[in-house]
Subunit: 123 residues, 2 copies
DNA sequence: CCCTATGCATAAGAAATTTATGTATATTGG
DNA sequence: CCAATATACATAAATTTCTTATGCATAGGG
């Protein structure tokens, strides 16, 4: 069907998630929260980033499945209000991986700081 | 053929360039240096990042061509020691774009900082 | 009832990069 | 002199990661 509004797009405050950062975000959130389900992660990211980062489901669910397949996450299915939830939590391997991913992110940011030489710096 | 060394891989200090950051790096370096040629960029990035970031030629050259096609870069061919060099520099449009790309990078890093809540913070 | 929110999932396509080549000249060590 | 390495460009195929577009299902509000 045709768009009936003249307001074609309201694609607000968009992500610009640098590719590769999603896994690190997932791992770190699970590290903090203990366990979370997919939808909860999307909401938490939106909230913490003040709407700046928007994780799409098409990116999130495959990422979760992959992390699980790699043995970094465990799943536990629950039914709440007759709706399905899949709670994910870090395995031991996942906890170790989280540490190294965060270190990698920090290295990346430090490197970018060297290259891009901005007004800000990491303390 | 079979690998004759027991030293299978020496894939050192690897890139882990978060996808999407390459263009910003190129633009910022050109902004600082005035003009650079491709090979020079790879060496400069390696040097500034202390070997952390390794720009591959397969990524760099297409990126340069695309930035040129978008009108962000100008090229100037030179011959030095009988070898070809293509010097790139920012157009006016490229200079403006550089500013917004850097702002975007800063936003990203701030968002990651909110999410990943590390020991370090941006000042 | 219909729309939004909650909650999962997958498929097709796009974008950015890696890996693998290819060409050519210059320099250095043995 | 020759082989390996460095300099300097380029492109194609494959891969990774993400967006966009769907699809299914339940709950709640107006």
């Amino acid at each position: 069907m045709v768009n009936e509004n003249s307001i074609v797009q309201e694609k607000m405050g968009n992500s610009k998630l640098y590719k590769g950062s999603l896994n690190t975000i997932i791992l770190k959130l699970l590290d903090e929260e203990g366990k979370m389900y997919g939808y909860e992660i999307t909401q938490k990211v939106k909230e913490l980033s003040k709407g700046e980062l928007n994780i799409t489901e098409g990116a999130l669910y495959p990422a979760l499945h992959k992390l699980e397949a790699e043995g970094l996450l465990d799943v536990e299915v629950a039914r709440v209000d007759n709706r399905l939830r899949k709670y994910y939590k870090l395995t031991e391997k996942g906890e170790k991986e989280t540490v190294s991913r965060l270190a990698e992110l920090e290295d990346f940011i430090r490197s970018m700081q060297q290259l891009v030489n901005p007004k800000w710096s990491i303390q």
